[in-house]
């Protein structure tokens, strides 16, 4: 298909889970791409030109098409390159995948990072509230190797770019365990499964570097 031809460029950031999940998808599908690192928090003229409305990474450029927003990019990649599908074919399963992906990027990121860092009602309360949200994911992945079933999919890439690396390393830096194995056996099993997948493993940022980065980000967020 002519649409598949042409260069892919990805403007991203090593520490951004939104950028990493796009790389997971490109690697899963075996799509070669040129990666351009954005030195956040400073925003380059290129980023501002490619994504003038939101000014955020990732931005994918495919021929003359420019796509911001990781969910849009993942769906575009999936529709353009049909090997190793990321989203289910069935409309209901697809709707569920989109639902959980949104839940993770909004609610999980809020309770796992924002509310926890600010901890306006105290850290213990914040952890408890986070666990209530994680319980939904625990239920969703129960009895499955991955959220996508036997193989990784959309929700695995969205959750997998955030929970095991970004959030887990923040929690390590804060010396807390938000999803202990005895309370969240399914999620912990899923994390282990995920780390065996090549395209995920290749997108894991360096552990110490990421812990240091997450602690800096959380300090900035606390003061904001």
């Amino acid at each position: 298909m002519a649409e598949k031809e042409g260069k892919i460029k990805l403007l991203g950031c090593w520490a951004s889970p939104f950028s990493r999940r796009v790389e997971m998808a490109l690697k899963l599908k075996g799509i070669p791409y040129e990666y351009l690192e954005e030195a956040l928090p400073n925003k380059s003229p290129l980023l501002l030109e490619l994504n003038p409305i939101h000014k955020k990474v990732p931005v994918l450029v495919h021929n003359d098409k420019i796509l911001p927003e990781s969910h849009l990019i993942l769906e575009y990649i999936d529709q353009t390159w049909s090997n190793n599908p990321i989203l289910p074919q069935d409309p209901y399963e697809k709707a569920m995948a989109r639902f959980w992906a949104k839940f993770i990027d909004e609610q999980i990121l809020t309770v796992g990072f924002r509310s926890l860092v600010k901890a306006e009602k105290g850290r213990e309360v914040a952890i408890e509230e986070a666990r209530e949200k994680f319980a939904f994911l625990e239920k969703e992945v129960t009895g499955k190797d991955f959220f996508g079933g036997k193989t990784i999919g959309f929700v695995d890439m969205v959750a997998g770019s955030i929970i095991p690396f970004c959030l887990a390393r923040l929690w390590e830096g804060m010396i807390i365990d938000v999803i202990p194995e005895d309370e969240f056996p399914e999620l912990n099993r899923w994390i282990k499964n995920l780390k065996d997948i090549d395209c995920v493993r290749e997108c894991i940022p360096h552990r110490e570097k990421q812990i240091e980065h997450m602690m800096k980000v959380s300090e900035r967020y606390k003061l904001a």
Binding site: E3, E49, L50, P52, I53, K65, I66, L67, P68, E69, H71, L72, I73, E75, Y76, Q79, T80, P91, Y92, K94, A95, R98, F99, K102, F103, Q107, F136
Partner: protein, 278 residues
């Protein structure tokens, strides 16, 4: 087996309106169930335990939540009629981009406009108009956001259009001088009678419908050329090629049947403001 389609909804919700319009666009028979948001039904809590919000589409017993998820689902299941999303992957991505934009940059200030006062309300007004202007630039002089067809983004905006009058009254401002072409489109929705009742307007020839020429558009909005776009717009819909087609996106019978009148919405907003001492 006949499909069983139930929509859990709330009459005034702009998100609920999207689901109603999409179902009617596709000619799907559905049972509408009104929810009391202060006393949510066990069914709603069972079908949407995560967010406990409407709309929820229940199709043969299986729930789909979140308004744009619902609209996409409807489009994919009942795919034989009135396509809502484009088939091209890039155009679909563009449509979804504008939905995300609407549901953050328009929704957040809109929610504050009718329910706050003072400085918070003033800032919200400013942010709201800024977001509408970006959308208006995107609409341009096309018949719909989606080009020639009433589509995904148009459906998303309809709910907000129904609330425009309420926003204006609560915050004492006027949207029209700021966004004349968007407002013209919204007015058509509620005050013009569709030319052919029940028939999708794409079947009406362009000559039957009045539209402002692009020259008029520029005179209505002097800033049209300058706008927010970079000299070579990069993320936009294809330009409409049919001459004479109008901004009729909200004039459709499916919309008129799905959306409450502006006065009813203002009455609700007024009542809630009084109740909460705003």
């Amino acid at each position: 087996m006949a499909d069983e389609v139930v929509l859990l909804d709330y009459w005034a919700s702009p998100f609920g309106m999207r689901a109603r319009i999409a179902l009617r666009e596709k000619g799907v028979k559905f049972e509408y169930r009104e929810e009391n948001l202060r006393d949510k039904s066990p069914l709603l809590l069972q079908m949407n335990p995560v967010h406990k919000k409407i709309p929820v589409l229940i199709h043969n017993g299986k729930p789909v939540c979140e308004s744009m998820n619902v609209v996409q689902y409807i489009d994919e299941v009942w795919s034989n009629k009135n396509t809502i999303l484009p088939s091209d992957p890039y155009q679909r991505a563009q449509a979804r981009f504008w939905i995300d934009f609407i549901d953050t940059k328009v929704y957040e200030p809109a929610d504050k406009i009718w329910f706050t006062t003072g400085e918070v309300q003033e800032t919200a007004k400013k942010d709201f108009i800024e977001a509408l202007k970006i959308l208006e630039a995107e609409l341009g002089d096309k018949p719909y956001f989606g080009g020639d067809n009433f589509g995904f983004v148009d459906i998303a905006m309809t709910g907000y259009y129904s609330w425009f009058q309420t926003f204006e009254k609560c915050a004492n401002f006027s949207i029209e001088p700021e966004c004349p072409t968007l407002m013209a489109s919204a007015k058509r929705c509620f005050f013009l009678i569709s030319l052919v009742s029940g028939q999708p307007l794409s079947q009406i020839s362009p000559e039957e419908v009045q539209r402002p020429s692009s020259k008029d558009v520029k005179s209505l909005w002097p800033g049209f050329e300058a706008g927010w776009r970079t000299p070579q717009p990069r993320f936009h819909y294809h330009q409409a090629t049919k001459p004479g087609s109008a901004k009729r996106c909200l004039q459709r019978k499916t919309v008129v049947d799905s959306v409450p009148g502006p006065d009813e919405l203002f009455a609700l907003a007024f009542k809630l403001r009084k109740e909460y001492g705003v």
